[in-house]
Amino acid sequence: MELTDADLIARVLVDDDQHAFSELVRRHQSAVRGVLRQLTRTDVALADDLAQETFLRAYKHVRSFRGEAKFSTWLYRIAYNCFREDARKRKELVGVDEAQLQGELDPQTSDPGLRHDLMHALSLLPLNERSAVTLCCQNGLSHDEAARVLDIPLGTVKTNVLRGREKLKKMLQAWAN
């Protein structure tokens, strides 16, 4: 029988079992790297560096995980913090020019694949909308969980998801026409 995340975390806590931790990394690496790729606008190398930092921090601070939220939610929270710190260091602009977005969303200039267009449009959303849509619509987090990960009020998450979805929907309609 496969061990649950809670079992593996208990082994890390009690025995400092690095094999158990590596199993946790193996289980969650795709989701964490995926979210970070969205946040970094598909900068794969940067996303992987941040994912590595995320798991190293998770190992270092595993004792502070109280099991109140899912382990994956806790990891997303760390990943988002890593991303924010890095973005602050890089002084990245956390928004995008609406005109630029409209230009990018023009089906005439977009790549033909809907999914590719969608991911591209998602990467062009402002950070607050992009992170909310990525967590809630792509990774299946509830608004409440996303609010905890992003450390913002629940209402703000809902607004960001709604706004992000509206922009993406416009793009989808343009593609369908």
Binding site: D16, Q18, S22, A51, S64, R77, C137, L172
Partner: protein
């Protein structure tokens, strides 16, 4: 839900590909700090060793434990209330220590 929204939700979910590990986990494990298992066993050896040394020193200094026997017989010969008081005080001290340890919460870390 409008068909476009339905399509959007489906496309968003399907747009996330599974990212193959490709050595990622191995790279993370390589960077982990050394396991504390060895350090813990070293700490145990130090603790047991120092306790043994302290016990040996106490045995020698108390003249083979004779002073302990003398003190115990003096205590036994004393008032029953005096013995009761010491036992009660020791019990309360141990209980307070246990309660304090149980109530102590680790600080909330923000990784």
């Amino acid at each position: 839900m409008e068909p476009t929204e339905d399509l959007l939700d489906r496309q968003l979910r399907e747009a996330i590909p599974y990212i193959e590990d490709d050595g990622f986990t191995a790279r993370v494990v390589q960077k982990l700090p050394p396991a504390k298992g060895r350090r813990r066993s070293l700490r145990s050896v130090i603790l047991i060793g120092s306790s043994a040394l302290a016990s040996g020193a106490a045995y020698i200094l108390s003249d083979g434990g004779r002073s302990v026997v003398v003190e115990l017989s003096r205590l036994a010969a004393g008032s029953i209330w005096w013995v009761f008081g010491i036992a009660l005080a020791s019990g309360i001290a141990v209980m307070a220590g246990g309660l304090a340890a149980a109530m102590a919460k680790p600080g909330q870390l923000q990784p």
